[in-house]
Symmetry: C2
């Protein structure tokens, strides 16, 4: 089976795709829309793209395509910790603190602001197009005495040594990835990362009036349906019109969710189920630190 | 007065800062945390950073800093359309469709997926660290026969000619920027972009239980307080704990908002007002297209 993911190699999306589908062929695509096109054109059976809090892809593009362009269901979700490490060329491990330049994606540089301020104050930071590109550049230019901020997969793929791990400012920073399928495949729930099932619903309100959202939530609340996420998004028809993405913490059933949907439609809302699927959580694992 | 913004020059944040404060000195900072530091250290009086849907900065970093690190109030918001244009070196305007490479930020390349597929199919796209960097590169390398995807300010600043305007896939794509101040300044509402006042409230739920959010919204609904945005965000203490960012469509008053806040606190929620401020909308303006 072929899995498409938002590349390049060694992105966080790559880590997510490898964890969920370790034995399949993974194909990197340069953008999120390119992933969706590949799914449309049957180049791949599954696509793994970031949905939240990603460094590499704009989350808004994923949502825009899900809502306006792509009619494939979400078949799975993976939450993975975002861990940034400081890595240097293997020749420079001992004198890593004499680094003369730091390379990384600008968002990763921003995420590690405190580390850079404390440990490498005044050292110039150069932006690259991805954290993986930074790792590759540092490996290919040992004379530069440069360091990269990137993930553990990038260290492994490009052969750098991690000298400081977990240098990001905020712990518990996670990214969510979703898996889309053109073939109505399902992901095996029988694995240690399995955490439960959820159903994602998109609700468009009939008018922008006070209390309408409250009414929508009533349809879920009186059925004791637990909502784990709610997000308002502007409609593409102009400012001021909103729809809501709601995660219900259960698998789609025959009674409760259809009942809530019918009630919302009777109130004049338009409702679309984006998928009912298992979600998985990748735990932190210790990386190997090569510092002496 | 000195205004800090997320740079480099000619980003969308630069456009936002110039529109709100045309006569002040604007200083570019490489990351969002660097903007906040400058505010902390009194290098600048105001900071303009993206809050939603940005190309250049991670929105999550702005929210993380607002919630965990920075205690300055939001004093204003500006919504600006995201418009991407295709631009080439002035020497190549006539034969722009013979472009041999396209340079831009990867998110902008993704946002213009359909244009690239239709008009420049098969032409290689190269990622740059910002749309402004792409424009600069294309200007400095006229021999390359390259084009850049960037905004109108970048075309102006770097001296490129826009040959196709509004090439982004989705119309009505907007970015929100917020203005923070360390000096309790206020922004003059007497300007044509003024659209109203809002109050942003952060609510942390006492426990992750079904219907809790519904109860929170009741406190606003029965007071007829209109909510224009609601977003759940994971707490930094681990997965599964959420707080909510809620925009109430009015200026903070002495009765209704304090009443709702008191009620929420009585229910065991923790509540923080992130700011009560005017919001502004930048309209589309026509760019000059140089195509013959």
């Amino acid at each position: 089976m072929k899995i498409g993911f938002l590349g390049p190699k060694a992105t966080f999306t790559d880590i997510a795709a490898r964890s969920l589908f370790p034995n399949e062929t993974a194909v990197a695509y340069p953008t999120i829309p390119a992933c969706f096109d590949a799914l449309n054109e049957n180049e791949i059976e599954l696509a793994v793209v970031p949905l939240e809090n990603a460094l590499e892809g704009s989350v808004n593009i994923t949502l825009d395509y899900l809502i306006h362009e792509v009619d494939f269901p979400i078949i799975g979700e993976l939450t993975a910790p975002i861990r940034q490490h400081f890595m240097v060329h293997p020749d420079h491990v001992k004198e890593w603190d004499k680094t003369e330049a730091v390379y990384s994606h600008s968002h990763a540089i921003a995420q590690c602001h405190k580390f850079l301020h404390k440990e490498l104050k005044g050292i110039p930071c150069e932006s690259t197009t991805s954290t993986a590109a930074a790792a590759q550049y540092v490996k290919e230019n040992p004379d530069l005495r440069a360091g990269a901020i990137a993930n553990e997969l990038a260290a492994e793929v490009y052969g750098l040594a991690i000298v400081k791990e977990d240098i990001h400012d905020f712990d518990f920073n996670h990214t969510k990835f979703i898996v889309l399928s053109s073939k109505e495949l399902s992901i095996n729930e029988d694995r240690k990362e399995f955490s439960g099932n959820k159903t994602t619903v998109m609700v468009t309100l009939p008018a922008d009036r006070s209390g309408a959202l409250h009414q929508v939530l009533s349809a879920f609340a009186w059925r004791n349906l637990n909502l784990t996420k709610i997000e308002s998004r502007p409609m593409k028809t102009g400012l001021g019109n909103y729809f809501f993405i709601i995660d219900v913490d259960m698998k789609q059933d025959d009674v409760l969710i259809p009942g809530a949907v019918a009630e919302l439609e009777a109130l004049g809302c338009s409702v679309k189920i984006l998928g009912s699927y298992p979600y998985f959580q990748l735990r932190n694992k210790n990386t190997k630190v090569l510092q002496d």
